[in-house]
C-alpha cells in the first residue's frame, strides 16, 4: 500500500542556537531556525506557502518575522499533534494534497524559568491552588495536582515502574540509552552536554521521580529546529538530495489518559508503530540504518524500540546493548545525542538529525551508507513516527 504522503520529501534543515538559557525569546530563536532551514533548502521566504508547528514559538510573530507573504496551509496542532514528528507528517500530507507547495515546519522549547529544572512547576504562589483545567491528555488536573502527581514526569515514572515490574527490566537498560546518547553527543557541536557518562554515573545519579534518575530525563534548553517539506518534483532543482517521507503514523489507544491507560507495558507508540509498517512500501525494521527515537525520558526510547518492532514487547532488556546502538553498530540510535544530550527541541531535533544523516551531512557522527531512518516522537497515550528514505 502506498501512503498518500509518499512523494513528499524534506529538502532543508535549520537550527537556532541551542543553549541552556538564551537571552533571546523563543520566537526569535524560531525565526532563526526557520530562516536557516529556508536558506539550507535554497529557497526564499516568499516561496513558503505552508506553515506547520505549534506555539510556542508564537506562530503569528513567526510569519511576520520570517517575512512570509501569504500561506495557503497552516496548522498549529494541539496535543497529540503538537510535536515535531507529527507536524512533519501533516506537512507531507498537505504537500501531497496540494494544499501548499513548500511547507515550513518548526518546533522548539524553552527551558523552564524560575528555578525548576526538569519538572513543570505549577505555581509557587501563596495560598492553595485550584486545579480543574485539562492536562495534555484531555483529562483534568483535579485528579492529580492535589497529590503532587500532575506532571508528565510523575505519570511516566508510574508507567516505567509498571513496565520494569511486568518484564523484570533492570535499570541498566535505561542507563544504556543515556550513556549511548552522551557518547554520540561528543561528536555533535550543537549538543549542550558533551562530557561522557558511565553506567556507574547513571546508577549513582540523584533521583528525580523514582524510577527516573537525573540521566533518564532530557536536557531542558532554549532551542528550535525546522525543516522544509515539498514534493519530489520541486525537490529536483534544490541543492540537497531530498529525503523522502515514505509514510507516517500517529497512535492513540482506547483509554488515552495518563493514569487510566489500560496496560502500561506499552504506550500510544505501539499503535503508531503497528500502523507505520503497514504503509512502509515493503520496508521493514531490518531495512532501517539509523533511528532517532524520542528520548524525553530514556524509558520512552526503550518503549519506541519495542513499539516499532526492532524487538518484541518485553525484549528491550536483551536488545538494548551499547555496541548495537552506537554509531558503527547494528542500529545506531539518537546520533546527535538525542534530547538527553543535544537538548529538548521536542522531537524536531531528532527529525533534523535523521534528515542530515540521510543527506550524508553528519561529519564525524555520520552513519555509513545511511539510507533509511525512523523518527519517533511522543510518550504515554499518544505517539507518532515517520519513515524516511534517502533520495
Amino acid at each position: 500500500m502506498r501512503a498518500i504522503e509518499g512523494d513528499a520529501c524534506i529538502v532543508g534543515v535549520g537550527h537556532s542556537e541551542i543553549s541552556r538559557r538564551s537571552a533571546k525569546s523563543l520566537t526569535a530563536l524560531g525565526i532563526e531556525a526557520c530562516i536557516a532551514a529556508i536558506d539550507d533548502a535554497g529557497l526564499k521566504p516568499a516561496d513558503i506557502d505552508g506553515l506547520g508547528g505549534s506555539s510556542p514559538p508564537n506562530l503569528a510573530n513567526m510569519v511576520e518575522g520570517i517575512g512570509i507573504p501569504s500561506l495557503s496551509w497552516c496548522s498549529q496542532g494541539a496535543w497529540p499533534a503538537s510535536q515535531g514528528v507529527r507536524a512533519v507528517h501533516e506537512a507531507a500530507m498537505a504537500v501531497k494534497t496540494r494544499a501548499c507547495n513548500y511547507a515550513l515546519v518548526y518546533r522548539g522549547m524553552a527551558a523552564p524559568r524560575g528555578g525548576g529544572s526538569i519538572a513543570m512547576r505549577v505555581r509557587d504562589g501563596d495560598g492553595p491552588l485550584l486545579m480543574g483545567g485539562p492536562n495534555p491528555a484531555g483529562t483534568s488536573q483535579q485528579w492529580t495536582a492535589p497529590y503532587g502527581g500532575h506532571t508528565i514526569l510523575t505519570w511516566l515514572s508510574l508507567w516505567m515502574r509498571r513496565y520494569m515490574h511486568e518484564y523484570d527490566v533492570p535499570r541498566e537498560t535505561f542507563g544504556t540509552i543515556a550513556v549511548t546518547c552522551r557518547k554520540h553527543a561528543a561528536l555533535n557541536d550543537r549538543a549542550v552536554v558533551r562530557s561522557p557518562i558511565t553506567m556507574s554515573d547513571y546508577l549513582s545519579s540523584r533521583w528525580i521521580a523514582e524510577p527516573f534518575c537525573l540521566y533518564d530525563c532530557d536536557f531542558p534548553v532554549d532551542g528550535v529546529a525546522a525543516v522544509i517539506v515539498t514534493g519530489k518534483d520541486r525537490a529536483r532543482s534544490l541543492p540537497h538530495t531530498p529525503v523522502g517521507i515514505v509514510c507516517g503514523a500517529a497512535g492513540v489507544g482506547p483509554r488515552p489518559n495518563w493514569e487510566q491507560w489500560d496496560d502500561m507495558r506499552n504506550m500510544g507508540a505501539a499503535y503508531a508503530g503497528a500502523k507505520l509498517w503497514t504503509l512502509a512500501e515493503g520496508l521493514t525494521p531490518a531495512d532501517v540504518d539509523v533511528v532517532e527515537l524520542y528520548d524525553g525520558f530514556t524509558f520512552l526510547t526503550v518503549q519506541w524500540l519495542e513499539a516499532l518492532g526492532f524487538c518484541a514487547p518485553g525484549e528491550a532488556k536483551e536488545f538494548v546493548q551499547a555496541g548495537r546502538l552506537e554509531i558503527g553498530g547494528e542500529l545506531p540510535l539518537n546520533t546527535n545525542g538525542g534530547q538527553l544530550s543535544e537538548g529538548r527541541v521536542h522531537g524536531m531535533g531528532l527529525v533534523a538529525e535523521a534528515v542530515l544523516q540521510l543527506m550524508g551531512r553528519c561529519g564525524a557522527r555520520q552513519v555509513a551508507d545511511a539510507r533509511v531512518s525512523v523518527v519517533s516522537n511522543g510518550g504515554g497515550p499518544a505517539g507518532a513516527a515517520i519513515l524516511l528514505r534517502a533520495g
Partner: protein
C-alpha cells in the same frame, strides 16, 4: 481551622462530571460513576458508558479497597506544599481493576511501597470545603465504616479491555 488556612497544596476544582466524586469524599465515601445498565464503573467519569453506550450512569459507592498498580517516589519540588520525597501511587480498585485512582500513600515508609500492595482509602479533610481521599496499607482487622455493599451480578466487570494491537503484530 488554623491548619486549614496553612494548606498550600493544590486543591481540586470539581466540575459537572466530578462533583459527585468530591461531594462523596466530603461525606467520607468513595463514589465512582457506574453504568446502571451493565454495571461497569466509569472512571474518570463520563456522560456515557464506554462499554454499552448507556447514558444511564450514576455515582455508586465502592469499598475503597484496592492494590497498587504502580508507584513513583517523587524527589523534586513539583507543587506548593509538597516536601520531597513523597509517594505517588496508582491504585486499582478491587471492584474493577481498570478503575485507577492516583493518590499519595500515607502511613507507609517509602521503602516499603510495592506493586500489588493492598491498600484502603482514608479521608483527609484538608479545608472546610475539600476532603481528599488518600490511601494507606490495608489494616485487615479494621472494618470499613462507610461501605455499602452492592448487589451481586457483576462478576465480569473486572475484566480488562482487549490488549492493544502490538501484541499480535509483533508478538
Amino acid at each position: 481551622m488554623a491548619e486549614h488556612a496553612e494548606y498550600k497544596r493544590p486543591l481540586p476544582l470539581p466540575d459537572e462530571e466530578t462533583a459527585e466524586y468530591w461531594e462523596g469524599a466530603r461525606r467520607h465515601q468513595l463514589i465512582i460513576r457506574r453504568c446502571q445498565d451493565c454495571q461497569y464503573y466509569i472512571h474518570y467519569p463520563k456522560a456515557r458508558c464506554p462499554r454499552c453506550r448507556s447514558a444511564n450512569v450514576a455515582g455508586s459507592p465502592v469499598s475503597g479497597r484496592g492494590r497498587i498498580y504502580s508507584y513513583s517516589i517523587v524527589h523534586v519540588a513539583l507543587a506548593p506544599g509538597f516536601e520531597p520525597p513523597y509517594a505517588v501511587v496508582l491504585v486499582e480498585l478491587d471492584e474493577q481493576s481498570d478503575v485507577r485512582i492516583l493518590t499519595n500513600l500515607v502511613d507507609c515508609p517509602l521503602d516499603e511501597v510495592r506493586i500489588g500492595m493492598p491498600v484502603e482509602v482514608v479521608y483527609h479533610d484538608v479545608t472546610p470545603e475539600t476532603t481528599l481521599p488518600q490511601f494507606r496499607p490495608t489494616r485487615a482487622a479494621e472494618p470499613h465504616r462507610h461501605f455499602q455493599p452492592q448487589p451481586a451480578g457483576n462478576a465480569d466487570v473486572a475484566q480488562r479491555p482487549a490488549q492493544p494491537p502490538t501484541r499480535e503484530v509483533h508478538g
